[in-house]
Amino acid sequence: MGEFRMPSLGADMEKGVLTSWEVSPGDEIRRGDVIAVVETDKGAIDVECHETGTVREFLVEPGTEAAVGTPLAVIDVPGEEPAGGKPVAAAPASRRVPISPAARRRAGELGIDPATVSGTGMQGSVTVEDVEQAAGGKPAEEETSDAEPMRRAIASAMTLANREIPHYYLGSTIDFEAAAGWLDDYNRDRAPDAQVILPALLLKAVAVSVLEVPELNGRWKDGAFAAAGSVDLGVAIALRHGAGLVAPAIAAAETLPVTELMRHFRELVVRARTGRLRSSEVTAGTITVTSLGDRSVDWVYPIIQPPQVAMVGFGQMTRRPWVEGEAVVARRVITATLAGDHRVSDGRRGAVFLEKLAECLQTPEQL
């Protein structure tokens, strides 16, 4: 017999709210299946189970807040003696309905399981209004100055970063002509789902380059730096309309071909923006990348996400005059910035990383 407990979805998580069950008692489940949705200060997370077996009973109802480690359900694992006791009546399995992060959050605030709300939006999707209707026509509250949970979580992490991490910043403008040309050629005759977009190439370049400077990749823990064995690459993903920011990680990014990295990245973005990140993805990375080039930013000055010790920023790809030999030519360029942690590394080592990054972007076909 196994217990499914409130998972810890980040070092700073103490509790979460069980938003809905995605399975019913009696259902067979396999390791990795999504069995519940939990609302955290990082948004709603699809929680995967770690066992294969049969769901016997639920111990808490949707809408319940529980501390990390609290048993939430009992799972019968084959080969083990099933415990006695009568299973609770099967609750109807939750329907998967499209719902925006805002509507999901509102449902959480009002203690409503979104799966029980009939959606009136496109494709039956649940809107904020539907949720409020379901709550008995409770009127939308005026916007208050109370920060949303995610905003508070971001603020507290960044305050910690600014207080405890002695940052240094470096920037380097990189000739991106070879990489941009390679991307154009690569994508020209490929179907959309086989295409690679610029940020994916940058992610791979960072993952490979940081291997040369291991003191940028890892975690600061209990007063010392622990280098990581692989590059679990955090990717900053902005939610729509300023709803917040999440940085799920792609595990062992340095080992993935660009196309594979792109697929992971693409799925992460969709799931983050539709409020369906999985528990295995929200565990923190070992270094994080942020790219703001889509909105005409030239430079990013990143703030490191504790307990990491470095963060890489990219601005937009843009055409600039570039000196080549004695001539000035038009080149596509991109500016990379690095925020490093002086407790672990110095600018000189950070510079080695940026050099390596620029170098590997000159031969994109090898990434």
Binding site: P98, P101, A102, M122, Q123, D193, Q195, V269, V270, G275
Partner: protein
Amino acid sequence: MNETELRAKILGVLTGIAPEAAEVDLDPMVGFRDQLDFDSMDFLNFAIGLHEELGVDIPPRDYPRLATLASAVTYLQSRLGE
């Protein structure tokens, strides 16, 4: 497929990427970038979703034609008519 059906399919794809699309009254002439905060990844996912839903191959050079609901309808009508 008539224009109403096509429009419904496009909105279905949009909702899968941005559930917010169901909540706002989309202005067909205003870009998804401004209305739905779309970025390059969203446009790529939009193209992938349209390909799956309609079977239309959309090369990268045509992505600018998916910028608004109105332009996407026009573009996809012409591609479906080929």
